[in-house]
Chain length 542, copies 2
């Protein structure tokens, strides 16, 4: 679907004109904040969350023009098509149906002429049955002992999504199972994990769609050797999550159970599929995982059905585009004031930067404007004691603050300086956006705060499975809405291919040298030679 | 010391002129890389590390001009003055002597007319004695059991530095002690930690220079209540690291031991002081901590004494300034291809962004150029499977790759695709900088890689305590050198004050409401009222 170039659209040029005076003193946030009905006009409730963008450098006219832009790009229609199974992953000719994984409506969802829901339900049912059998000790390892340690072998989307959710909902992990992640190929990881687990009571969950990811294969090779050394049968200790017919779903290589993932689910959108479903149902229970899915579904439906003006993820996407393409910010931080959300920034970093770090439209035209920003973050208040100096007095960047009204633990309620720990957290959550927005004059230059630094605040009622699902789906929808405005494909990742190809060439050189110590690297360029020689010599010095 | 404005210096205007043609095709990295003697000309050994900047978008003339800039700003002289005890923290009128903490030369270091070394040695000796006594079970908790769990209560610089080093050197933690960090004020943290520790065998280490940090006080209040509930005597279970005479160093509030920190050591530079010394000597052993200090000292001496042209941290600082002020990059990533260095990016993020996120010179003049960039990172190869799509095809940012020649664990040497795990890691470490620099044409637009994306590679021989010390000191010196070129104060952090003041106001409102449920928030602005009401109601909805 070739669209008119984005930057030629009247809505875009209007926005450019409208943004120009925003560097003037009268457009400083401290003045915008004093406009009538600022807070009700620039905050919304929906999909179970509350979104406050009153501290963004935006006014009503800018918001109206951004909504015109969304309208002219047909993004809500496109989102509906996505959820209905259209091939919105244009470069790869596929649907993107992470939303179908949390669809409990009973209605069919048709992709490439076929209803995907029966397969999704089958995998969900298999996952539930398996998780219960493991948790109840009915499925055991090869020595008959019930499982206690779960080791997920997977990287990227097979790691960051499950990690985020298992950390966020760790308080619900009452089944006595311990969850470990083996992502990086660094041998250190494997060494550390085997020092923590009981081999006879360990279930390895190998997650890879293609089952060809070198890091995951290398780590599962280590796991198989380790089992062999301990006299354990992999067929009783390994489950896989992989595409139908991949090497991980091959009866010649028997495993306890192989769960299927589908070509219409990309890695960074896969936590709602068996990629998250298998480890999280084992660790948290299938009931908790289902509650998580239902929360995500609530936000999906909001994102699909709410009017643009009241649509939380769409508004967040428009503000992000305003900050990026019109006000010129190049980075954004996500700061959850909740330690269980400490892995959210890393997950959203992948989700957003891999989806929206693109340079061409989905139909192959070069873009004449920047796309995704650099996204990073740490939990608050930690971040305040780390990089917030720069946020207040250095190079400005927009921030998403995230607050949780009710804490997960309420058992310890000591009071310090007259407030509980949770209140202390909130005193900071409330104050930081204000300090950033309003700033403060001082006669000493080093104590002057210029202010005018934008932020949003996203508020969750609690850290229930539903809330965590809503939060995930909010960021997924926001990411996709931005891509739809730019007409880029948020579901491909061709940018990671070149590094893989070059690493494959180096791997061949290493393998050749491993097989034959006289294999020379002299045919390679000077830099590659240098590092290969250092590695094989085991020394940095020549 | 008022200096001529940076941007008026001939060296600066020369650099501006020289940078202009760098957006031309003939200055693409793929061409620069083919220039004669590129690799030997743009790589250096020093202070025990190897630094390769051949894949930076820099040529010989740019390098010469950057060295002129360093010369005209007298940064090496300034660094020597810093190490010798001058009051280089100008806004606060203090020395910055983190380097003295790892000085084993026996020579005096004089700050404000006094030799600081006797006090530093006294604290080092006290730390050594205490660590040995605890590790050997000669100092025990109040029920006579030897300690097993160490809980560090501290935030910001009292947390990220020790965390980085304890993760990096975890393989050396052979004393049977387990180390936990209680940083964030989120009650979740406390709840999680007390579920892991044995109260009778727990030593709490409270780290706060002023002993007034609200988060640290709130968490130590919880710890004291917890000890009281378990019938344990805090005087036998708490050690403090704090300024002489602070509330944490008060005989009215007896503790097992109070270790002093000094006003010439800032939080983010404090891991070499008792802030790192106490927890790390307990966890790793005082011998390992001393080896770490000696590695840092080696790099300090290199940074102080090496010629500018061969000075690793100074060259890294100049390249960072080139990328920032002349090529216009606004962010930078640190990607260690070593999982034990997974906490390095978070530590360097604080170190760099808090030091160099400034808007005025040390003598109070507003700057007319940007200062510190946004710094972020994750370990490789994980990062490749997360945000490297954007690095290759989206908005470019410079990267520091870090490689370690010899892995910490060599016990598991399975081979997958013909290579070991450590070799697989290196195949990627070698390939990514090349793929980023050279790019690749393709007839399909989505498979085209523009290349010309700059990076450095820093190589360590191993993850010994010495190497980790060198790495820390490299980034500290690099950070300080950049600040000296800009004439900003890298040792103050006035930018965090406003948020603290506003949080104090909110805290008072909360405390008033805790004391009197009829206390009204109506005198506050609408936004503050809204969030306070939501928190006290426990609901997001009104």
């Amino acid at each position: 679907m070739t669209q008119r170039s984005l930057t030629d659209l009247p809505a875009w040029t209007d926005l450019k004109e409208h943004a120009a005076p925003f560097n003037r003193p009268e457009k400083h946030l401290k003045h915008l904040l004093r406009e009538e009905d600022r807070f009700p006009g620039f905050s919304r409730r929906g999909g179970g969350l509350f979104f406050d963008f009153s501290r963004q450098r935006i006014d009503r006219a800018a918001l109206d023009r951004l909504l015109d832009l969304a309208e002219s790009r047909g993004v809500l229609r496109r989102f509906r098509e996505m959820m209905a199974g259209a091939a919105v992953n244009v470069t790869e000719g596929r649907a993107a149906l992470h939303t179908a994984c949390r669809d409990f409506s009973g209605a069919p969802v048709t992709a490439a002429g076929e209803d995907v829901m029966p397969e999704i339900r089958r995998v969900r049912d298999e996952t539930r049955t398996f998780a219960r059998a493991v948790r109840e000790g009915r499925v055991t390892g090869s020595t008959g002992k019930p499982f206690r340690d779960l080791v997920v072998i997977g990287i990227g989307g097979s790691y960051l999504g499950p990690l985020f959710v298992s950390e966020a909902l760790g308080a619900y992990a009452t089944g006595g199972l311990r969850l470990h992640y083996l992502a990086n190929v660094d041998i250190h990881n494997f060494g550390k994990i085997v020092s923590l687990i009981d081999p006879e009571r360990t279930l390895w969950i190998v997650i890879s769609k293609s089952y060809t990811t070198p890091e995951t294969l290398a780590n599962s090779r280590l796991a198989y050797d380790f089992m062999a050394e301990k006299g354990l049968d992999p067929a009783k200790h390994v489950a896989t999550v992989t595409a139908k017919g991949s090497p991980g779903d091959d009866s010649a290589n028997p495993v306890l159970r192989a769960f299927h993932m589908f070509d219409f689910i990309g890695g960074r959108y896969s936590v709602s599929s068996a990629v998250g479903g298998v480890p999280l149902s084992l660790y948290l229970g299938d009931d908790i995982f289902e509650r998580f899915l239902k929360g995500a579904q609530e936000m999906d439906i909001h994102a699909r059905d709410a009017d643009a003006r009241d649509n939380l993820p769409l508004l967040a996407a428009l503000i992000s585009i305003w900050n990026n393409n019109f006000l010129g910010y190049t980075a954004e931080a996500v700061i959850p004031y909740a330690d269980p959300l400490s892995e959210l920034p890393a997950h959203i970093q992948q989700l957003y930067m891999e989806s929206n770090g693109k340079r061409v439209t989905e139909d192959g035209r070069s873009l004449d404007h920047p796309t995704g920003v650099i996204l990073f973050g740490e939990p608050g208040t930690n971040a305040q004691h780390s990089f917030f100096q720069l946020a207040h007095q250095g190079r400005p960047f927009p921030i998403d603050f995230i607050g949780v009204v009710r804490p997960q633990y309420e058992a310890y309620a000591a009071v310090s300086k007259g407030v509980t720990n949770h209140q202390e957290l909130w005193a900071n959550l409330i104050s930081q956006p204000m300090a950033l927005a309003e700033g403060k004059d001082d006669e000493k230059p080093e104590k002057t705060f210029p202010g005018n630094r934008p932020s949003s605040t996203l508020m969750l009622p609690d850290l229930s499975p539903e809330s965590v699902g809503r939060l995930l789906a909010f960021y997924e929808a926001r990411t996709v809405f931005e891509a739809f405005i730019w007409s880029i494909d948020p579901f491909d990742q061709f940018g990671v291919e070149l590094g893989k190809v070059l690493a494959g060439d180096i791997r061949k050189e290493m393998a050749a040298r491993n097989a034959d110590p006289s294999h020379s690297f002299d045919h390679l360029d000077e830099i590659r030679q240098f590092y290969l020689k250092a590695l094989f010599r085991g020394e940095t010095d020549e």
